[in-house]
């Protein structure tokens, strides 16, 4: 947490990773990100050298279920909310250039 100021380049990069378009009038978000980064600076005051992280408070791990097929959505249920469908499939934009 050495530097709390988020640069323009970092801001654009984060927006791209987040798949968000930031409108010019929303550019103030950049300063708010820096402000939030400042708030979290207090964590530096605490020594966590020999402390292991707690990712999950009820300490469950590797929860499996039996490999058995159970009732699930029908095709029409699964497609019912999609923006565009064709022949029983969901239409997406192309991910590979022609």
């Amino acid at each position: 947490m050495s530097s709390n100021v988020i640069t323009d380049d970092q801001f654009q990069h984060i927006a791209k990773l987040s798949r968000l378009e930031i409108k010019p009038e929303e550019s103030y978000i950049k300063d708010q990100l820096s402000e939030a980064a400042k708030y979290v600076d207090v964590l530096k005051e605490l020594n966590t050298e020999d402390i292991s992280p707690t990712f999950q408070v009820n300490h469950k791990k590797n929860v499996f279920r039996d490999d058995v097929i159970t009732p699930s959505f029908t095709q029409s249920q699964a497609l019912s909310q999609a923006a565009k469908t064709k022949d029983g499939y969901i239409v997406t934009s192309a991910t590979i250039k022609k």
Binding site: V57, S80, T92
Partner: protein
Amino acid sequence: MSDLNKLTIKEARAGLLSKKFSPQELVADCLSQIKKLEPKLNAFVTVNEIKISEADLAKPLGGIPFAVKDNFLVEGIRTTASSKVLDNYIAQYSSTFTSRLEQAGAIIIGKTNMDAWAHGSSTETSDYGPTKNPWNLGHLPGGSSGGSAAAVIADECLAAVGSETAGSIRQPASWCGVVGFKPTYGRCSRYGVIAMKSSTDSPGPITKTIDDAALILSLVSGHDPLDATSIDEPSWVKPQPLSTLKGLKIGIPAAYFSKETQADVKNSVMSAVDTLKKLGAEIIELTDILDPKYSIAVYTILQRSEVSSNLARFDGIRYGHDRSFFGTEAKRRIMLGTYSLSAGYYDAYYLKAQKVRTLICQDFDKQFQKVDAIIGPVSPTTALKIGATEGQSMFGELQDILLEPSSIAGLPGISIPCGFDKIGLPVGLQIIAPQRREDLVYQIAKIFEDNTDYHTRRPKL
């Protein structure tokens, strides 16, 4: 009979079973209260104008009208999480929480307003406009379950469903003067609740009385194979109420009162401490509890990180609209989370926060060696005015400073009415217990409620 909407679940069930009125009349009274008050309050995003032909009164919630926060999926009903991204989304299945309610006979009469995606503590960041606090329409109801808390105190329903990630049940319950019970993390299934911060998201009831909340919890809790983090226990069983608090040690953390704590809040909480003392509890001041400011930092990092992952799925392909429909608040949170999880920053932000979470859990373990339960104010203030969140990108985090520590540690907690400020806005008392000790939370809240009358007061609307 009229005004059936003003009843508690317990009263309504007695009336239904003795045939003093019908479930149709009960639902009709709630819907007519909604029609009358919604232009003022805006507590609902979607009203389900249901006409029931019959209700199975043999079931424990048979015939009882419920309002459900709009981040719970209810099959066939629009579910938006108060975001325009999901403006057109009709849920394809139901959350475990609401299906268990419906299996117990509950009737869902509408979906309540919230901060969009539950990002906030005001219900002011909803894409469907703010909900107003029924006690004073110029004030906020709190959030993110603000619509549910407002609907309960305004008697638009008999009880409601909320969800808490760090304060989103307890804080609006406090600001609206109702009971908000946040269970142990994993006690109630998260399946079908639109994910916010999955490692602390906890659904729970918002009600007019502690017994109503306990009844709901006993019906919706219990292991759910559809939620891998659900705890391996059968449903929670409501314990016997206590006739005295003799032998019980209750801690009050000095650090939960600061210069930001309003005098009226402090006075109401200290008078609640006196009541508990008179009921036999030994009150112990906790002077070495970890400063809650660290929880703000841990919560901010972890919440943003989990949000950036959870909201990645909203791409407008399988359901809902595309990502251009996200509001500023969601964009800000997604971006900060993406930043804290990105290469080069993961160790400094995300991993550091998860280690401090361990310290917070250890600190609670240490405190619970000295006391059985911890009490304090829910919020440093009573309901703030409409507009208070403008330009405040950390509004929710700072508001929920007294609730973030227990949420981060997955502890059960409650907000119960314990007083009013000088302009008539309610004050909430929080009670926190060790993981899986909802029994203690219930018993302390119950004896307090039985010896006070704050929960019986209603706003003039």
